[in-house]
Symmetry: C2
Subunit: 199 residues, 2 copies
């Protein structure tokens, strides 16, 4: 077989449950022989089209209170560090633009994980150019040319179009996983999505 099964991982940097998904997707997929394609997108425009101008976890306090407690349990079970950020949701636009610009780079998954850890384990402001630059340097990359490319008109438009494709495909939250047209939503559907990709 020359065709390796493919799983698209749709993530948004502000999304809490995308963090544990990003941390565990690669070993699970590798074990299953499934290739992961990393697809950054923006939930903001999708939420806005549903009439939300904020995270549903802020709009609906009971749901938010539950989510923070559940995140503690999920990260604890997964043995990854977590502390509730002092700001939520943090603007993940810059990090998403960098990720879109560098989607094919071999260091991209490690960079994405480092952004999630900065936000959800270290309480750092991931909308800050200096923070993202430092995380790029942490991957052995020169920040300036990447940040320039990330903020180019072409790249901004490309991310916008990718978000449009997400909406067209029926995505309404993150993390989401796609196998062809089959959609799975939520960190707790990752195993099922990988099994589906394996066929």
């Amino acid at each position: 077989m020359t065709d390796q099964p493919v799983l698209e991982f749709w993530f948004e940097f502000a999304s809490t449950y995308s963090y544990p998904a990003a941390m565990r997707i690669e070993p699970l997929a590798r074990e299953a022989g499934v290739k992961v394609v990393w697809r950054p997108f923006l939930l903001g425009p999708i939420f806005q089209s549903q009439g939300w101008d904020n995270s549903p976890f802020n709009i609906y306090p009971a749901k938010g209170a539950y989510m923070w407690r559940d995140m503690e349990r999920v990260c604890d079970a997964q043995d990854i560090p977590f502390q509730r950020p002092t700001a939520f949701p943090r603007n993940g636009l810059l990090a998403a633009r960098v990720s879109f610009a560098c989607a094919e780079e071999p260091w991209l998954p490690a960079f994405v994980r480092s952004v999630y850890a900065a936000n959800f384990a270290e309480d750092m402001d991931i909308s800050d150019l200096g923070v993202i630059g430092a995380l790029l340097a942490g991957q052995g990359q020169k920040p300036e040319p990447i940040l320039e490319k990330a903020q180019s008109a072409e790249n901004k438009e490309g991310l916008k179009e990718q978000t449009g494709r997400a909406k067209e495909a029926g995505l309404f939250g993150a993390p989401s996983f796609m196998v062809g047209k089959e959609l799975f939503w939520g960190n707790d559907r990752l195993e099922q999505a990988i099994a589906w990709a394996k066929g």
Copy 2:
């Protein structure tokens, strides 16, 4: 040890994901040595306090479309019959009143499962007195005195108070599981809730 661990199962008859949870909770809990307490409640008043006059699966079409596909997959994996009901959400008030009135009866779990199957596998109108009466008869019970008790002012008030307790405890959806004050939401959290109850 004389004290068996206890898991509260909070369910709403209109809730799609409560169906697979109701079907699988007993064998899982039994195997773990955990006692299940069945707690019917109403999501309507809780949703209304969040500004929703309908199921969020109807209010947010992308989320609804996903849920129906996901339910097919979940029920298929669990090997339980499922067909999308022609009406959604169906009014589960009568069935909830019966369940509240008969919470201590040994046949109650089987009755609850039969109501879910009627709605989500057989597309029957579970708000109908005749349907609920037939399902009670299916448990070897005389429907009339039970339906009378279920619709008594005292029982109606009791279910209302139980729904109030759900809201106070932070419940915002169904199925939910509680172990003491620890809340778990969703069919896919059942295993975790049982493990928590075991301690």
